[in-house]
């Protein structure tokens, strides 16, 4: 065996060429990743926190901790994807009649990673994290139905995110866009490792999301507290349920699409190739069978957040609760009937396009119902302009704009005109930033005190809010105009002088968004430093209405010492009205909670190793990775003691400490919510 053969056996296609020394920008990016990872590892070692992280976080099966880890992951990935967005906007600002600073190949990698990360590694983990943290508390459960699977889902998602980060250091990423269309991602066009990175990163995360969807749906069906009928659930749980159902049914098409593409690339098959019977239009069809429901997986949970935030900060029952539920269900079902609108121009007949165009417009109806319901919830409410509420108001103004442009695009004739232009980019960012991202940030501000026991700084929250809104408007409104002026999306350079003013404004907007992101970091820093002033251990800082506020902040491991008896909608609000809140139960019982397990990290690491090995064709490592995943599952099934018991006395002590804190905290009126007077115990006020 020659040296080259041995090298290939051990390291596959890896070689020194994989290192990013071909361009200064790529080398810098790789340097940031490597230094960031090393820096974090060194910091943890220096602080001696590895054991703590492993025991309290990585191996924890507590839904609250898993939820927080999901959100942390998504914020890290958000930072990378925002930086990439800024680089693209800068490129388009300077690349008039010149090549700019990014070569086309690099620009194509950037828009691919930006989209892939924002969808799969920012939005999905963020909403999964929020649902994970909030939903079991809201339905009065002690955990999700399958806590170990929850940890495995997180492991798989993190493995995918890890592959994305590794792709910055070793090799080049795909240039085929986040939707990975062949022929750009076929072997014939791109024989490199980029599309393989995309395939395995996305596959890992989609497997994780499928499991998550199953877990959430079963939890909501089977773990509700006594009296918590489906129609008494907070709306966030309804949207979580519908999003979970969408995950269960919409993730498989993605898995099929990526797996078949992998068959083409690895086994020489002909699903989407140009020759021997392959048909790339099959890919578009499969991808969007996933892709469209995915859009609603992304938008429904924020709709739930808006429902909670708007009702809570208006101090009113949600207006039109049932109509909101039915609208959510209608959107969930309709979302499976509209996927063709992503490829109206593929060449099918006008009949097909018309049917799917009409179905698309129909979705506007339930969404419109929701907007009106939220506005009517505000009407004559006791509205407080806290940070989540500010985001909600921005959403109510900006989101319908995006929705209306969506209705325009639903018309195939119009779609033909603006297809593949920046108009489309403006449209979906207009949906996803005010809709999804603002929703997630509102949820983050709203539930942060529940998770950590202190409130986030209001001033920096407002600064970040202002920057997000201004940044969004400046960055994306010009893109509508550019789209109508026929500027194609994914263009790395242009020669039309009329575009220039708009691209300059958009670049400025992107910088504001970067500043908004920095403000969020500053906010965390400031809030942590001042956490004593904003401590809300008593658990109810916003005069809450739903069950998550009926626990201490942060909630104990077991969530509820006694499962709450639910008498109606807005369960905690009713308890406070009837004087049933904070009542000491007659007796406490032993509580079983899931014991820690290394399954999540093990499966995650094995998955990442297998993915990496497949990307670089390292056979032995791929086999070891896959066998480790399977072996771990089988080994786990032989473990008998998967729970630990919290003794009744321990529960009594924990609960007594919390009740004492509630009793010691003066009731705070809604006017003083954002002042240090707020210790997490709401005063009873009329309505």
């Amino acid at each position: 065996m020659s040296g080259a053969d041995l090298w290939h056996l051990l390291f596959g296609k890896l070689s020194a060429d994989a290192l990013p020394f071909y361009s200064a920008i790529a080398a810098t990016a790789a340097g940031v990743v490597v230094c960031g990872a090393l820096g974090a590892a060194l910091l943890i070692t220096w602080l001696g926190r590895w054991r703590y992280l492993w025991r309290e976080w990585f191996t924890s099966l507590d839904h609250k901790k898993i939820g927080i880890m999901y959100v942390v992951l998504s914020l890290v990935m958000l930072a990378r994807a925002v930086v990439e967005a800024c680089m693209m906007r800068m490129q388009q600002a300077v690349a008039f009649d010149s090549a700019g600073f990014l070569p086309p190949d690099h620009f194509a990698q950037l828009f691919t990673t930006h989209g892939t990360i924002m969808i799969f590694f920012m939005a999905m983990p963020f909403l999964t994290g929020l649902i994970n943290f909030v939903m079991p508390l809201q339905i009065g459960a002690r955990d999700v139905s399958f806590p170990m699977m929850n940890s495995v889902s997180l492991g798989l998602t993190t493995a995918g995110a890890g592959l994305m980060m590794v792709s910055l250091v070793l090799g080049k990423f795909s240039t085929g866009g986040w939707s990975g269309y062949p022929p750009y991602t076929e072997l014939g066009f791109n024989p490199g490792v980029g599309p393989d990175y995309w395939i395995w990163a996305v596959t890992l995360s989609s497997l994780g999301s499928t499991l998550t969807g199953i877990n959430f749906a079963v939890t909501i069906y089977k773990r509700r507290a006594p009296g918590m009928t489906l129609f008494r659930m907070p709306l966030f749980c309804w949207t979580a349920l519908c999003a979970s159902i969408l995950m269960i049914f919409a993730m498989p098409p993605l898995t099929v699409a990526t797996a078949l593409l992998a068959c083409d690339r690895y086994l020489g098959m002909h699903f989407f190739t140009n020759s021997l019977g392959g048909n790339m239009m099959n890919f578009a069809n499969l991808f969007w069978l996933f892709g469209h429901p995915e859009v609603y997986i992304l938008i429904l949970p924020p709709f739930g957040v808006w429902s909670e935030v708007i009702a809570n900060f208006s101090a009113k029952y949600l207006y039109g609760y049932r109509s909101l539920v039915y609208a959510t269900m209608a959107i969930a079902v309709l979302s499976f009937t509209v996927w063709v609108h992503h490829f109206f121009t593929m060449g099918q007949s006008a009949d097909v396009n018309a049917a799917f165009g009409i179905a698309t417009m129909l979705i506007g109806i339930p969404t419109g119902v929701k907007i009106y319901d939220w506005m009517l919830t505000l009407f004559r409410g006791r509205v407080r302009f806290t940070v989540p509420m500010l985001y909600a108001l921005a959403f109510l103004l900006l989101f319908p704009l995006g929705g209306l442009t969506g209705i325009l695009l639903a018309n195939p004739a119009v779609d033909y005109q603006v297809h593949n232009t920046l108009f489309l980019v403006a449209h979906f960012h207009n949906m996803l930033i005010p809709g999804l991202l603002f929703g997630m940030l509102a949820g983050y501000h709203y539930w942060f005190p529940k998770a950590f026991g202190f409130r986030l700084d209001e001033v920096w929250g407002r600064i970040a809010f202002a920057l997000w809104v201004a940044g969004f408007v400046l960055a994306f409104m010009p893109l509508y105009a550019l789209g109508l002026m026929a500027m194609p999306r994914r263009t790395d350079a242009f020669f039309e002088a009329a575009y220039l003013p708009y691209t300059l404004v958009a670049a400025f907007g992107a910088l504001l968004i970067l500043a908004a992101l920095v403000s969020l970091c500053v906010q965390v820093w400031v809030s942590v430093r001042r956490r004593r002033e904003t401590e809300v251990f008593a658990g109810d800082p916003w005069n809450g209405r739903t069950l998550e506020w009926a626990t201490s902040s942060p909630p104990p491991d077991y969530n509820f010492a006694v499962l709450p008896q639910v008498e109606g909608r807005d369960a905690f609000w009713l308890m406070k009205q009837d004087g049933r809140a904070y009542r000491t139960p007659d007796r406490y019982e032993d509580i079983e909670v899931p014991r820690n397990s290394a399954m999540g990290p093990v499966v995650g690491m094995a998955g990442a190793a297998a993915g990496f090995a497949l990307v670089w064709h390292i056979g032995w490592l791929a086999i070891i990775g896959v066998l480790t995943m399977g072996g771990a599952l089988i080994a786990r099934s032989f473990v008998r003691h998967t729970t630990r018991t919290i003794a009744a006395d321990e529960v009594r002590r924990i609960e007594a400490r919390w009740r004492d804190a509630v009793a010691a905290s003066p009731g705070v009126t809604r006017d003083d919510e954002t002042t240090p007077a707020n210790r997490g115990h709401a005063a009873m006020e009329v309505a």
């Binding site: 159902i245 239009m281 009937t337 060449g347």
Partner: protein, 111 residues
């Protein structure tokens, strides 16, 4: 009802399921075998219809006798789940066939 009766009842269900499944499979395979063995004995469309119908019935038989799903006694959650899944599968498969069939007719008819 004692355990012995229970056991017999359940055993009978499995045996019924097996019997029906065998008959249905034999019908489908027999139709194909007949078409192959005796040219002209049976038209292609009859064979295809036979295959389709026996398959549909056999799926129901398996659900009923092996998976123990039926319309009256299953819990609503589970039945809803299966029916909803059937709806989604129908939408996806029918849509796919419609769209790609249409595309083929328009773009690849010459091949």
């Amino acid at each position: 009802m004692n355990r012995r009766d229970d056991y017999r009842r359940e055993l009978r269900a499995y045996l019924t399921g097996l019997g029906l499944a065998v008959v249905l499979s034999v019908l489908a395979f027999g139709a194909v075998g007949l078409a192959e063995g005796v040219p002209g004995a049976i038209s292609r469309s009859t064979v295809v219809w036979t295959i389709g119908l026996t398959a549909a019935v056999q799926v129901v038989v398996h659900f009923r006798y092996f998976l123990h799903i039926d319309l009256t006694r299953s819990k609503r959650d589970d039945l809803q789940l299966i029916l909803f899944s059937a709806l989604i599968v129908l939408l996806m498969v029918a849509g796919t066939l419609w769209i790609l069939g249409d595309l083929r007719d328009r773009m690849m008819a010459v091949l």
